[in-house]
Symmetry: D3
Subunit: 291 residues, 6 copies
Amino acid sequence: MSQKIRLGIPKGSLQDATIALFERAGWRIYANGRSYFPTIDDPEIECMLIRAQEMARYVDHGVLDTGLTGIDWVIESGLDVESVTSLVYSKQSRKGVRWVLAVPEDSPYQRAEDLSGKIIATELVEVTKRYFAQKNVPVKVEFSWGATEVKPPTLADAIVEVTETGSSLRANRLRIIETVLESETRLIANRTAYKDEWKKQKIDSLALMLKGAIAAQGQVGLMLNVSKENLPTVLSVLPALNSPTISELSDSKWVAVNTILEESVVRDVIPRLKAAQATGIVEYPLNKVVL
Amino acid sequence: MSQKIRLGIPKGSLQDATIALFERAGWRIYANGRSYFPTIDDPEIECMLIRAQEMARYVDHGVLDTGLTGIDWVIESGLDVESVTSLVYSKQSRKGVRWVLAVPEDSPYQRAEDLSGKIIATELVEVTKRYFAQKNVPVKVEFSWGATEVKPPTLADAIVEVTETGSSLRANRLRIIETVLESETRLIANRTAYKDEWKKQKIDSLALMLKGAIAAQGQVGLMLNVSKENLPTVLSVLPALNSPTISELSDSKWVAVNTILEESVVRDVIPRLKAAQATGIVEYPLNKVVL
Amino acid sequence: MSQKIRLGIPKGSLQDATIALFERAGWRIYANGRSYFPTIDDPEIECMLIRAQEMARYVDHGVLDTGLTGIDWVIESGLDVESVTSLVYSKQSRKGVRWVLAVPEDSPYQRAEDLSGKIIATELVEVTKRYFAQKNVPVKVEFSWGATEVKPPTLADAIVEVTETGSSLRANRLRIIETVLESETRLIANRTAYKDEWKKQKIDSLALMLKGAIAAQGQVGLMLNVSKENLPTVLSVLPALNSPTISELSDSKWVAVNTILEESVVRDVIPRLKAAQATGIVEYPLNKVVL
Amino acid sequence: MSQKIRLGIPKGSLQDATIALFERAGWRIYANGRSYFPTIDDPEIECMLIRAQEMARYVDHGVLDTGLTGIDWVIESGLDVESVTSLVYSKQSRKGVRWVLAVPEDSPYQRAEDLSGKIIATELVEVTKRYFAQKNVPVKVEFSWGATEVKPPTLADAIVEVTETGSSLRANRLRIIETVLESETRLIANRTAYKDEWKKQKIDSLALMLKGAIAAQGQVGLMLNVSKENLPTVLSVLPALNSPTISELSDSKWVAVNTILEESVVRDVIPRLKAAQATGIVEYPLNKVVL
Amino acid sequence: MSQKIRLGIPKGSLQDATIALFERAGWRIYANGRSYFPTIDDPEIECMLIRAQEMARYVDHGVLDTGLTGIDWVIESGLDVESVTSLVYSKQSRKGVRWVLAVPEDSPYQRAEDLSGKIIATELVEVTKRYFAQKNVPVKVEFSWGATEVKPPTLADAIVEVTETGSSLRANRLRIIETVLESETRLIANRTAYKDEWKKQKIDSLALMLKGAIAAQGQVGLMLNVSKENLPTVLSVLPALNSPTISELSDSKWVAVNTILEESVVRDVIPRLKAAQATGIVEYPLNKVVL
Amino acid sequence: MSQKIRLGIPKGSLQDATIALFERAGWRIYANGRSYFPTIDDPEIECMLIRAQEMARYVDHGVLDTGLTGIDWVIESGLDVESVTSLVYSKQSRKGVRWVLAVPEDSPYQRAEDLSGKIIATELVEVTKRYFAQKNVPVKVEFSWGATEVKPPTLADAIVEVTETGSSLRANRLRIIETVLESETRLIANRTAYKDEWKKQKIDSLALMLKGAIAAQGQVGLMLNVSKENLPTVLSVLPALNSPTISELSDSKWVAVNTILEESVVRDVIPRLKAAQATGIVEYPLNKVVL
């Protein structure tokens, strides 16, 4: 029988983004309605939809060889799994999310220490307990089934909640006072599976392609022509990060420059390239970037 | 300041049905997008959306005076709250839901006792633990964040899951072996609040009207004319439950009969009424029924 | 084993309206996604979704005992089935639909006879062939897979197409020249099944309740009070069709009048009742009417 | 040729509610996609969709005989049309809307007089100009094409804007300082048309039925049985507004009581009726109420 | 007058995919709501929406010069048209669809020969009749108006139905026993029109561009830099199919490699290119590929 | 404090297209539900949603430094603002829109002069008044709140209305007789702000990138290989507009050609390139083009 890895895809809010990421990376995953066993166009992989909160549990048990989940839920689980690579692919933001301690805007609390004896509502119960225990602050941590941010001040005194931009907290008139945990998506693996040579290579290829697809999303290709005379000025305008490919043209006084840029700097770079006499400036989209 | 009761509405799958029920009962609740504090057209009530799982907790703490939730989550919480009345208003089914112990279709398990040493996945952890403890069957109960029915046999050996018709379990090739808990929606109240005379009266009126609206959903009004001669036959066809209202007509040989019927029997009753010479048979809808 | 009738529900454009009609008549049919075997809350009935065009075929073969379909497709099939009752329940229109012969607006054709030797596109091939054959007009009838009304003049010279209001034909610049067949929905039954006493009674009850629900859609209840003095004038205003129920009131100078009216005449009747000194005029909705 | 009235239906936010109101009143209006000439099932009426702001203009010109619009736009137009009846049918609120003068929450303005020399943005330019002119306060009134409530303080100093509950203004941190105009929906008519006897009768019947349908929305029917002994208590519980219909029953010790109630009081009345020994209390919906 | 070709676009399930394909090929087709004559941004083409089943008929008659349809419907029609090129553009699958003979899972039938005297339901009546006639197996072939796969065993003994993956057949508990016909989308042309030089050139250009767009969907561009030393290893990793473009860089020890790859192999190739010391590996999307 | 420009985004029908254009140009604008102050990922810009009709007013007042709007509304306002660049980005059409004078299809009017004394309905009141005044044709211009094209002949004799293709006018049976104003989208700026050096540079960069993104939408990249022998033929096929980039290949008999083409000519060019012996012809998409 042919070898296979069993891969956990996070069910829920990250599911569609994850499937889209795999498609860009080169794998098509078909989620068939209510089935939790999506098909994938690679005979060496078997997929399963698992809640992010439970991913570490099943990777640890060895039911899954590898899976995507947030490092927050890995830590919450207290389990020992291999962290293969970080994968930050949320469209909204390039930054990881964080779990913060938040209190009512108009409350007097300024630090964790001010919450002694209070009720803290959160989905991340274990991490929160450890956080307050390390500070020797006794609190009552209550598991919250959702809508945590509307609980203070009626149903809880403070919360530990996940946020990217803080806007949902502000909308609920909450004030962030401390960061409890920074998180991000990770590809994790079962420690035993990752020692198997074939599985390790397969998981590493997966990681390479997923990172290549993520890198491509924030980058673009830029081509331009420039006379050799103006080449130094043009090169000085381009970010130093990746060295551009410079090729000879039939007209020997000119060269073609082809490079990869962060999409976010293009709006500043193009006006300066034009000022540096570059011509035929063309930006084109990329599918994958592996430098 | 005027008196008020604080009322918890279950957030999530029951939310729309609950708001519709209140509208039929005589209260309009406006859920404003993402707000958890819907407005209600009764100055004596303040609403809050709360997950069914957490309702008992906050009614017990006295943050809420009353609320709707499943008796399953009340029992799971282990808290002591007043159960005012049962409210079964799911459109799909008149019967309550139940939590069942289910195993893979082709597994050998026939009774709870066969699961000694196995992993049981469930959202209802405490009830499940007590259930197996009473039977002296040692099992490992794991909290499931959702999609419990797809876990056997890979991720768990058996599950305790909620079901109405069993169809989702069957679709996942699971077999029900025991019923762990029967549940239904309840109006619960804080014990202290329910001792306050004004609050008790308000909560009881609420219960009366909600039950009146629920009763009306499964019943219809039926009017017909019949000659006094044929009246006994007509009455014998009508279910004995509620005595019909019989009024005199101007034409003294005839009477009008007006009654309330279970909607589900109408399709059998009308053909027999017609056979019994009733004329002008008219079925009309009801908003509320308080017998 | 308990007795059952097998019932065909028309799949497609009439499906939702049919299921809604059965609900008003007292039967809930649950169409589960893609399944062609909807469940029904009556253990004496088994449902199957069948295209209207094929209903007569399967009722004739005896695979179904009864079914709803258009009389047009019954005639097209050329098969011999029992026509139990007509059921006109389209919301848009109380009138039956009809198949018409239509030609391009600016063509010279005025009668079927003008189309000798031409191409006629239609979904109703057999009826159309017979129609022209009876008139001794030789034409080429081509089966049309849909979008028949856009075919003239490029793809056909004329069409035989179904229409309610003619608006789709006009929008395609077609002119109706003759009516080929008037149609309407029918409850049909297999001749052998309809001779079985139990099945006949079940099918007849079904017909009675479906007609009762249809009748209720176009009718409303009207209640009013009037002094005995003004009663004759009030009665003269009410349509003579159904005799109203007149009941004695406690105040012996007044009577209450309760009647059923076509909804479409209410807007004319109420102003005249008010002019006739009726008071407390109340119109209420009906679920079923069996006179 | 038969007589007709031409009727203007307000295009836009009121359109669906208006068509629904006409349906309840007894007229079906079919708005066909993009057409501005909906069909209506009454050969004596021709419909046209017209913006509420332009209704008075076209009724005044005589292009329309009658139409529905807000009294605010009638006054804004400065034209002389007949006001046949008021029609308040918004589901959200029974109260009319009003145009208010609003300023930034944290601005110093307390009265219209404080706005001398300032810019006022509004869609209701003429009414606003007259309002300030009457107070001898010179301001610059600018026509606003929409989104008026976001203009202060950047784009205007104050606004005159329509509001029902004030919530949109509060959400934009505006403070209401004066009410400029209270409005409500009206059926208006061309003065000349309204002098034509046939047209007047048609328009009046329309008004009667529209009001009957509106009245029915906020009211319900209530039936109950009560012993003659308890009748006085029951009657004392019922609102005095409309005298209930009391009919004799076959059992001469009991009577049936049938009445019309404001829906909003039912939730208070039913518990008291039950306390007064009424039995078989049934609430049913109404289509129209013409008392 | 300028020359034109008349082009048939398949109406229905393939319509949106066809319009999208033409857009990628360089032609924008605007389907205006219900019109069957979409506009196209090429004055030399006139479009018409035609059901795939009827395409061959109208191309054969000469009403259309060319059109897209399945080869199955061409064969079913029995007509003689030019097959210009095959066009496989379904997103779901690169493989053509096929018509299969399927029987109930638990029936005894293993071959077409086992169905002697049975009822076969199908939309492809003529092909099916010929198929059984060639095998000298007498069967009754009934035209199915849809939902063919639910007919066995109640309404038919076997079916001939179209399938890509067989999943719908399996879901209906059917077993495939033979393949009756393999199909795929074709660009067909009227034989006379295809002999006209101008029309032939136009149709051939259309075919070239459609195929170029289809080819691009499954392929991507890949650019990388590599030292001349490592070039042979890199080239050995690339599929031999298309020779890559190798260009000189300013730094004469390095070359740039630019090539076209099947998208499905990229996930295997990139890890090996990286192992072969390639740098700056970039994958970019393609619109059209004409090799 | 850092410098900023205030930018007006047109609210309404152009809003989504504008935000999409900015995204392609390199700026992400987040429109948060009902807020009129979308956020943008550039700390040097502040956005505000403003109706196109009011843009010139607020740019003129200096509340905004720059904004996008139609030149028609700039002219209608009569205000003096800087026109930085034209931006034609509607997907439907590359051509600007125009305001036309239209009359009923079957009316006798042929020229503006024929409308003396008539009523003209329009949203563009001032431009229309000036247009007729210049021709010395006295007309009554009435402001239309929308649905202008359905007003003739009942509510107006003629209209001045905006159109791209004329299809909405034809659908309403109107005939265009004159063009009153041609329009297009413009980036406008406040004259004072545009004299500030920093603001001018920022606005000009914005204009450059927006135009680069617009240019890319209608263009594509084309790569091919060709032997030096065939290069002249290939070059003669390519449009002369932009000189292609020709680079040396390792195989010195061949060159690679890379160029930018109007997407609309590709379907004609590729067949001719293939005829000219070009190989490996690849079309790829572009994000931005700055020549």
